[in-house]
């Protein structure tokens, strides 16, 4: 079941085109990522979906309404970049206040516990660290028990440990049946969390696929590097169908190829009693896919 459907969204600010033509749909229960370089139009896209901006053209359907419908505000939780709180408000007060906004709020005690914020309940917002503010922001977005949560750059500014904790939390939220729309520019985050990813560049969707699907588009070229224990002739390996190229750098060998490259190479070497020491295998990553997809002309 489709819960968010964006069709031919376009938005410009004066002369600047922020979003040229963006279409995608999000299914219930999935974690959908919007990935793109800075200034690609990610934030404008989610702001339109959150009903904070009116698109110049195109349509956005969310659940059974259209973006901006007041009824959606109880069903969609939003965590934005640059949405702060009053410095002198404590964490607890913020949660209690925001709980009164929703007809059926979640238990904030449970939420802050999951987010590791319980020791900070009496702390004022202004005294929280960046990561703590971010986690409070996520808690507030989930406070209304939303069916959909939109999280914009949720781990920006977090240290690596806090980032991993947040990822675990996000997976936990999905397990509760919440559909998640995630904006990010972290490859690792998108790869770890998202079921599907829309790559946006210069205001357009340049690819929409699963993380694995995107990686495949970058080609399945692989590189093996190793130091052979015994010298061998190039022909030993270049004859293999999986091997495209063999290079030597001093005593190190680099082999570029595809398919079941590693298995093919190791089998031949083993047959001749050659040990491949210091072996590394490099495969195309989402990083490569991303760079390929968003490379400037």
């Amino acid at each position: 079941m489709t819960v968010i459907e964006v069709k031919n969204l376009a938005k410009r600010y004066g002369e600047t085109v922020a979003v040229r033509d963006v279409s995608f749909s999000v299914e219930r229960g999935e974690i959908f990522g919007i990935l793109g370089p800075n200034g690609a139009g990610k934030t404008t896209t989610v702001e339109c979906i959150a009903g904070l901006r009116t698109p110049d053209s195109g349509s956005i359907t969310i659940l059974d309404g259209s973006a901006g419908d007041p009824a959606l505000r109880t069903r969609v939780g939003v965590q934005l970049q640059e949405g702060e709180l009053q410095d002198k408000l404590t964490v607890r007060e913020a949660l209690e206040l925001y709980s009164t906004f929703y007809p059926d709020p979640a238990d904030w005690r449970k939420l802050v516990d999951d987010l590791g914020l319980t020791p900070k309940l009496k702390t004022r917002y202004g005294k929280l660290s960046g990561g703590q503010k971010q986690r409070l922001s996520i808690a507030l977005a989930l406070l209304g028990n939303p069916e959909i949560a939109i999280l914009d750059e949720l781990t920006t500014g977090l240290d690596p440990q806090a980032r991993r904790d947040t990822w675990d939390l996000i997976s936990g939220i999905r397990d509760r049946g919440v559909t998640l729309l995630l904006v990010t520019h972290f490859m690792e985050e998108a790869e770890r969390l998202c079921d599907r990813i829309a790559v946006i560049d210069k205001g357009e969707v340049v690819a929409l696929d699963t993380p694995a699907g995107l990686v495949q588009r970058a080609g399945d070229e692989q590189r093996i590097r190793f130091r052979p224990s015994l010298p061998f002739a190039d022909e030993l390996l270049t004859g293999l169908p999986e091997v495209k190229e063999l290079r030597r750098q001093g005593e190190r060998v680099e082999i570029i190829g595809s398919g079941n490259l590693l298995h093919a190479v190791i089998s031949v070497l083993a047959r001749d009693g050659i040990v491949a020491a210091e072996l590394t295998l490099e495969q195309a990553s989402l990083d490569d896919a991303f760079v390929n997809l968003t490379r400037g002309e």
């Binding site: 007041p70 934005l80 640059e82 949405g83 009053q86 002198k88 408000l89 925001y98 929703y102 209304g144």
Partner: protein, 246 residues
Amino acid sequence: MTVFLKLLRTEMKISLRDPLYAFFTLLFPVLLIAILGNVPTMQEAPPELGGLRVIDLYAGLALGLAIGIIGLQGLPAVLATYRERGILRRLATTPVRPGLLLGAQLTMNLITVLISAVLVYTVANLAFDVPIPESPLLFLLAVLLNCSGAFAIGLLLAAVAPSGKTANAIGTFLFFPLMFFAGLWAPRELMPEVLQRIGDFTPLAAGQDMMTDALLGHSPELISITVLLGYLVICGAAAVKFFRWE
């Protein structure tokens, strides 16, 4: 309604956590009266004051001071900061409209003025025999209109200022001349004619006139009411027109 009350309570708590705000709006006006009341010349009643002593006027001026600080400095700085830091924007994603927070801020400031009024007049009356206003209702109306003039200007500042700091700077810049015309440094009644006439058209002076009239039990001057309502309507409308939520 419960959401509004919760917002109001929260705003009140937050503002009282700002020691400067609490001091200048609640304590400073009372302190001013307590100090001025002990200055012998304050007990004099120059004929221009129509039977009032200087200290009687200063009770109103102390309250006007609180209104000026709140309306011209506190309110615009807080609201511009709420916009600047995305507090209104965050609220816009919830079922609550950000306008409700503005409403809570205005109400909170109005309540602060009323508390300040009770404090000032209680001390002024008990310690220095400043009369309780002959027409309490007219006096309340005068306080409300005085607030509406200053708050409307504050809202307009919040609407056009790019940041909380700028809003506060412009507010402070306006505060001193407006308080001057209201008579903080020398009562209006003792000013040269030309300064009095200019003062007629400034909000805190018009508010001060209304409060003085109510203190004496006189009906308010038409010009005071017109000027204050004028500020309310013109600045209020401009604020609504120019206000940016982010």
